[in-house]
Symmetry: C3
Subunit: 264 residues, 3 copies
């Protein structure tokens, strides 16, 4: 029996045993499932954070990996349980935006999961992670096709990139999609986004009272506590400080503050 | 070499490397051990929380799974190191109540683990998780029988269900066994508990200043912030609020407050 | 394809998906990699804590295990990416002290990893965990030798044991290398350290206003809340309290306070 990789990203924490039960369902469907914890510490209901996190790891996994994301404020409501297939991977989770970066960057086919085709032994309405998403992954590992467990969606659930806006002064205002635990301010603006606009260089960066014309390549190019701008390892524009928290230094508030850039 | 599943639930945290050493012992005994993290973030010494968590995941794992639980305030004292066998699973941990839901719900055989039959290379007295429980699981994976590593216990360590009491006014006072990270108040009272009393419906629910005669099935039946009562996905009675914390809304204190219900 | 064990210890947290991407790289290099989470909750940049944690679990893993440690304040600077081989294990991480206990206790050969031999598809400068350390482990799993991915270091990067000093009054002043989540104060002084000095017993222990001439073997030898001194399960000298936090009782400050012992 081939090993099959399933990654798990949730906002459940581990304490309640919910994640444990999802793992049990995966192993019961397919004992050779290789379940990889990504995180269960997503802020409750933080869809944007989950979308960003998924974006940073999914592409590193081998062909055939199934990525499950359960961050789902609307569980039980009318949002659709989704299965997304790309050339390399499968994605399973709610149709609420957690896959927005996947939709932006990959050619894909989307399916609405059909609970009756996935799990007729149970009829829970409170825990889709365990009772729909995990068994759907189980069916895929057992060799079922996407068509056998879901209905292909004709319309595309394309979600526009809402992570930056053009201002009247020509600057782009970039949202921070993440402030990581080191205090780096990570924008949702990638080198690829810039190139799509036929722009190839950044002229100027302003974040609150910090401003610079140069981008750095290495953290070590600056001294401790100094701020810098760089394309990070995921090719997103990032504000960092050497061995210190850029977010703290700038008193950066993710909800209100923006990173302003001019490009050419 | 067949893969064998071992789940781990502890209150150790991951920082000290204790859990790492347990995993190392499991892999050293049986390289093909599939070690599944449930949680290591149980509140230190919270036996009740661990018992509840175990209850919510164990049954979803395939036949033959070994469940290790190490939440053990009395390590080194006279409490017994336990091995419990049910029709489907093995359970390894201290005899301090962590298995109380298993004893309530499953037919079982219990064994007192014999350290000398498990681990004669070490004689640590401070870390049973690594030096007794993990090697015991290792021996089982290697094919040893329960009888070869422990002594069958004749008396049953049955622990009564202490999670609800009948009041003089006829109401049942239910303890909250858990408040999950979303703020749902989860009682230890299951639909099965009710049916054992030959009761089949709930007439009335009171929690502090909230009171209702109806149970809901879906979170989506209510509006944001509204309270509701439902049988949750584990068939326990739960007080929830739509996209909000029921515990916060009610200022519910797990130690003092009770969910009162009348049934018929 | 044989299963190969890789352990992961980082200070990344799990939220950002960094650790997820490391796992993806490991699985992409070697699908049968058995990736074992130790912890991702090391305090940011706490090299000493990581060194101590590694020390407590590495030896329990089977021969051939690869231990990756990524706690790396100086990433991008001149510190060397390291591969260390001992009789039983491989260690991969920065040359910043995370392996100091390994260097103290094991015969080893050290190599400086050569990024160009490991990963020519990417040239990230901000994330060595994903772009150098994980692919280095991948190459080892694929069967490459240490020589094929790194350059042997002639000089030994021996780091002296700085965890205790001799005072003028003859007492040894022991640093606490860890205060675990139960509040146990764990020193970096092992029974083996003592025996190397041809000393075989402890005469007297002083920690702030607590003082004793006796060592205990079991937590249960004392009553709740009482302090005791013992060789813990890793054979380090530890100050513990029964079902209570020794660190809280003593108001022990890891940075300032020391455990004083006289030995004979």
């Amino acid at each position: 029996m081939t090993r099959k990789i399933v990654t798990l990203l949730t906002d459940f924490g581990t304490l309640d045993g919910y994640v444990g039960s999802i793992k049990g369902v995966l192993k019961s469907h397919y004992p050779n499932a290789d379940v990889v914890d990504i995180s269960h510490e997503v802020e409750p209901f933080d869809i944007r954070g989950a979308a960003f996190s998924l974006h940073s790891y999914y592409s590193f996994f081998p062909k055939g990996t199934i990525h499950i994301v359960v961050v789902d404020p609307g569980v039980g409501s009318s949002r659709r349980p989704l299965l997304v297939r790309t050339a390399q991977h499968y994605f399973i989770g709610p149709d609420n935006g957690v896959f927005k970066f996947i939709f932006n960057r990959e050619a894909y086919t989307a399916y609405q999961l059909d609970p009756k085709k996935i799990n007729n032994s149970r009829s829970s309405f409170t825990f889709h992670g365990r009772d729909i998403f995990a068994p759907a992954a189980g069916k895929l590992m057992q060799g079922k096709s996407c068509e056998e467990i879901g209905t292909r969606l004709d319309e595309r659930t394309e979600i526009p990139n809402v992570f930056y806006q053009k201002q009247s002064d020509g600057y782009l205002a970039l949202e921070a999609v993440n402030i990581d635990r080191f205090g780096n301010i990570i924008t949702g603006f990638s080198r690829r986004d810039m190139e799509r606009m036929n722009k190839y260089a950044i002229d100027h960066v302003k974040v609150k009272d910090f401003s610079t014309n140069t981008l750095n390549s290495y953290y070590a190019e600056k001294n401790d506590g100094e701020l810098m701008v760089l394309w990070n390892s995921m090719e997103f524009l990032e504000i960092a400080a050497v061995n210190a928290s850029a977010a703290k230094i700038l008193k950066f508030n993710r909800a209100e503050d923006r990173v302003l850039i001019s490009i050419r």
